[in-house]
């Protein structure tokens, strides 16, 4: 029953879109979360075309790829890694993804019709922020699962090498080892760099990490503002709206030039959002050189101070 309703709905949708514009864009969204919505808005703000959405979490047990093919969109927007995984097999329709951390883990076969903007802010940019704000930092600890986030580590290593930072890395295969790895770094690091690794970050390990941070006065740099509230000193996060805009720019380029060779472009998020928890800074006795904050667009302090 649901299938029939879906088909009818889609048909009506595309008929109306065709009436307005010749280009049909289908946005396939993993789930309904605010960052995805903002990213889509960012896309639409740049690429002024009619975009119709398909939220995967609303449909279960349906072969979404076939359904999408049957709709013949001119472009597919894959918002989120789940959406990208679902549409990556579509070869004849250009696909732009965004809000994906490691697109290469999904599209490793090197599909040519897929371009997009990852959620990853270049590690060198992040390290630059760190160095600017904490000039005295020398040793930065990091724990990761090589199977998941080695691409981040590789970039971080390169950036660290270039900036003279000593990156102390610990690998884990299971969350159980996070605590012991963290404890191994006790007294050896000036700062702990939290990376978006789901092996490292479980509810238990997060608690432990921040507890450990407070007990040993080791500041934690997180990748999302969400962690400031539970004890991170600083977050270097993404700007979802800007990522959408980056993707929109890619779309515009495609539609204006209609050059398929422009595809297979994979770019990182360009704008880091730096937020500071001053209370944590005070508790840890860390002084921040805010004069250098202008280099990356300033520090957002309002929320936690």
């Amino acid at each position: 029953m649901k299938i029939y309703v879906l088909i009818v709905t889609m048909s009506i949708l595309f008929c109306s879109v065709t009436a307005v514009s010749a280009q049909k864009i289908l946005a396939v969204q993993s789930i309904r979360v605010a960052p995805y919505e903002e990213a889509l808005k960012g896309f639409e703000s740049v690429c002024k075309l009619h975009v119709r959405r398909l939220v995967l979490s609303d449909y279960k047990n349906i072969d979404i790829a076939n359904e999408i093919k049957s709709l013949h969109p001119d472009m597919i927007l894959a918002i989120g890694v789940t959406a990208l995984a679902k549409v990556k097999h579509i070869r004849k329709i250009p696909i732009i993804y965004f809000m994906v951390l490691d697109p290469k883990s999904v599209i490793s076969s090197g599909e040519k019709n897929i371009s997009g903007v990852s959620m990853n802010i270049p590690q060198k940019d992040q390290l630059a922020v760190i160095v600017n704000l904490f000039p005295d930092i020398k040793d930065i600890g990091i724990i990761y699962n090589p199977k998941k986030t080695s691409f981040i580590i590789k970039r971080a290593e390169t950036a660290a090498w270039n900036t003279g930072i000593n990156l102390i890395k610990k690998t884990v295969n299971t969350p159980k080892n996070v605590a012991s790895r963290m404890m191994e770094m006790q007294g050896k690091i000036d700062l702990f760099w939290l990376i978006p690794d789901s092996t490292v970050l479980t509810p238990e390990t997060i608690k432990f990490l921040f507890l450990f941070s407070m007990n040993n006065k080791i500041p934690i740099i997180a990748f999302s503002k969400n962690y400031l509230g539970i004890g991170a000193l600083l977050s270097i996060g993404i700007d979802s709206y800007d990522i959408g805009r980056q993707a929109g720019e890619l779309g515009n380029t495609f539609f204006t030039t209609n050059n398929k060779n422009l595809f297979n472009q994979h770019i990182d998020a360009r704008r880091p959002v730096v937020s500071l928890n001053k209370k944590i800074a005070n508790k840890l006795g860390i002084k921040i050189n805010k004069n250098n904050a202008n280099a990356f667009g300033g520090i957002d302090e309002s929320e936690f101070n």
Binding site: I31, P196, S198, T202
Partner: protein, 659 residues
């Protein structure tokens, strides 16, 4: 011993109350302790379970990281924190695979407990059971309680992207990552309960003892007056006398003691009254018996006297004037006259005389009698009179009322040393109520005329008080009194249905109170003595051998306007008459006189002057025949003692008829 105890319990009110109260307070105290301990035990057990659940849940929460990471070092602090609790003696943590991560135990617990032999052998069913519950699960053993709680974690995000906006992600599922097992010893609970039990027992015992001691003294204070009361009642029952029971308390027992004391006083008073009444009854019975005896004798003796006097007079008529027997017969006649007077008094005492009782207003009689007494008694005796005018009448013979006054006042005068003193006569109307009547056997409720004669003479000795009304009892010297005065008064009063009450104190005087029952009757105008008494101015010769009577007669007659010439002997009177027989209009003579009887004198006077009317005064007239009186010229016989109106009417009647 046991029987004595049972008897003491049964008979002792105080002991019974004390034992009952003590047993009751014991049961209440220790029953309360029992209930208290029961509920306290349950509460403490429940508190232990709650505490154990909280500890297990707390440990499960705090050991999340350690269990998750299976890091023993991370589990140390949470486990040590739980071990701070005194009751906790073993803590075991399991990972998701039910393998023991930590198993800490206190060294002083459970060494000999067989339960710990199989401690580590946990069936999968138990884990399943614990996993199925959200809250902690406990297993109750003999010496300990075992608490289980599961260590729960939120499922790890599926992808790394979601880490950026974990707050935005839909609710994630919880999963069990391990188990916590906390053993709490019941030893502490038992120790606390035992301590509490001992304290409660001590407190209960203290309260019980304090309550028992308190109630002992309270009961003692209650029982003491009860015992005194009981002793008083027993003493009253056994000996009839009892000391006054102290009634200090103003409570019910005090009121009871007061009531008992009042009851005892009342009984004592009633006994005294009863005794007095008995004495009065006895005396009345005695007087009645004496009266009956004396009356019977007097009646027969009176008849015998009639024969003696009759034949003596016949004998005197038959012998010549010079006969030497004449003097002897006159002595017989004189002695017979005295005997006749005596018989008359005895009959008055025995109430067998034939005087008729009539409705009488006695106040005029009393006044008249007192006026006569003033003339006869020495002036050194002060006579006071308090006669209240009243229309109340009594049933009596007026002459006998007169006699009562005369006798009482004469006795009063005799009781005054050196003839100096006060004599008071009063008459009043009063009502005798039930209370007053109950104190005197002869008195009944109703209206009375009370005649009181008081003197401040020597008084009557208590030892003779119950004999004063006996006939022939006298304290006067030989020849000074017959001892019949009060006996006659007693007879008159009893005949009038009255009562005499005498009170006397030695040296203070005596008081005689005579109560005459009042009647409702119209008094004939004839009985009103002093209103229209017939008067006259005739000359009368009056003869009586007793000076007191002759003075009385002279007083009356002169008061009625007559000229009176008196004589104390028959011979003296005859000489006076012979000397001037024409000047006399009438002769009044006594019957019984020494030397010559009134009858003989009347015959002598009739011989000298046959026209002159003669009135004979006698105390007893049954011995005088009509023939003799007519022969002696006697026109009328008046019974002595007579009242003023009697003699006044008699004189006038005789004088008017003889003209």
């Amino acid at each position: 011993m046991n029987l004595n105890l049972i008897r003491t319990f049964r008979e002792g009110f105080g002991i019974r109350i004390f034992i009952l109260f003590t047993v009751f307070t014991f049961l209440v105290s220790f029953g309360f302790i029992g209930f208290f301990m029961h509920f306290q035990s349950k509460a403490m057990e429940q508190a232990l379970k709650n505490n154990g659940s909280i500890l297990a849940n707390l440990l499960a929460y705090n050991s999340k990281i350690g269990v998750f990471s299976e890091n023993i070092e991370l589990l140390k602090d949470p486990v040590d924190g739980i071990f701070q609790q005194e009751e906790v003696f073993r803590v075991t943590l399991y990972n998701q695979a039910k393998e023991i991560l930590v198993d800490n135990k206190k060294s002083n617990f459970g060494k000999k407990n067989t339960y710990f032999t199989n401690y580590k052998k946990i069936s999968t069913e138990i884990f399943k059971n614990i996993d199925a519950h959200h809250a902690a699960v406990y297993l109750d053993h003999n010496d300990n309680v075992e608490f289980w709680s599961k260590v729960v974690s939120i499922e790890t995000p599926l992808n790394d992207e979601s880490l950026f906006f974990a707050n935005e992600m839909p609710n994630q599922k919880a999963r069990t990552i391990g188990f916590v097992r906390v053993l709490l010893s019941k030893q502490m609970l038992h120790n606390r309960l035992m301590s509490l039990y001992i304290k409660s027992l001590m407190i209960g015992l203290s309260f019980w003892l304090a309550g028992s001691i308190f109630i002992f003294f309270v009961l003692k204070s209650i029982i003491k007056p009860l015992k005194q009361l009981t002793s008083g009642v027993k003493a009253l029952g056994e000996y009839g006398v009892v000391d006054k029971i102290p009634a200090d308390a103003r409570d019910e027992i005090g009121e009871l003691a007061d009531a008992f004391n009042n009851m005892y006083e009342s009984l004592k008073r009633k006994n005294a009254e009863k005794k007095q009444l008995e004495e009065q009854l006895l005396h009345a019975q005695k007087m009645e018996a004496i009266g009956t005896l004396a009356g019977g004798i007097a009646h027969d003796f009176n008849n015998i006297l009639g024969v003696i006097v009759g034949y003596t007079e016949l004998a005197l008529l038959n012998i010549s004037e010079a006969d030497p027997l004449r003097g002897k017969l006159n002595q017989v006649l004189k002695a017979s006259g005295r005997a006749t007077d005596l018989v008359k008094q005895i009959l008055a005492f025995s109430r067998k005389d034939k005087q008729k009782l009539m409705p009488t207003r006695i106040s005029p009689i009393v006044k008249e009698a007192i006026k006569m007494l003033r003339a006869s008694l020495p002036a050194t005796i002060e006579i006071r009179m308090d006669i209240k005018n009243s229309n109340v009448s009594i049933l009596s013979d007026p002459s006998q009322i007169h006699q009562i006054i005369m006798n009482l006042c004469t006795n009063a005068a005799h009781a005054m040393p050196d003839n100096k003193g006060e004599l008071e006569v009063s008459l009043e109307e009063l009502y005798i109520d039930e209370e007053t009547a109950s104190r005197h056997a002869d008195l009944q409720t109703g209206h009375y005329q009370k005649l009181t004669v008081y003197d401040n003479g020597e008084g009557i000795k208590p030892e003779i008080m119950d004999r004063i009304f006996d006939p022939f009892f006298t304290t006067k010297g030989p020849g000074k009194g017959t001892g019949m005065g009060l006996a006659v008064i007693h007879g008159i009063v009893k005949r009038c249905q009255g009562t005499i009450i005498v009170d006397s104190k030695i040296g203070k005087g005596s008081i005689f109170q005579i109560f005459f029952p009042a009647i409702d009757a119209e008094i004939s105008e004839e009985l009103e003595l002093n209103k229209d008494l017939p008067h006259g101015n005739e000359k009368i010769l009056c003869i009586d051998d007793e000076k007191q009577i002759i003075d009385f007669d002279q007083e009356i007659l002169e008061r009625l306007g007559y000229q009176v010439v008196t004589a104390s002997t028959a011979a003296g009177a005859l000489e006076i008459f012979k000397a001037a027989h024409d000047s006399f209009d009438m002769v009044i003579t006594d019957m019984t006189m020494p030397g010559m009887t009134g009858l003989e004198l009347a015959m002598e006077i009739s011989n000298l002057s046959p026209e002159i009317p003669i009135i004979l005064c006698t105390g007893y007239n049954s011995n005088i025949s009509d023939y003799k009186t007519q022969e002696a010229g006697i026109i009328k016989i008046i019974m002595k003692p007579f009242a003023m109106h009697e003699i006044a009417f008699a004189i006038r009647e005789v004088l008017d008829n003889s003209v």
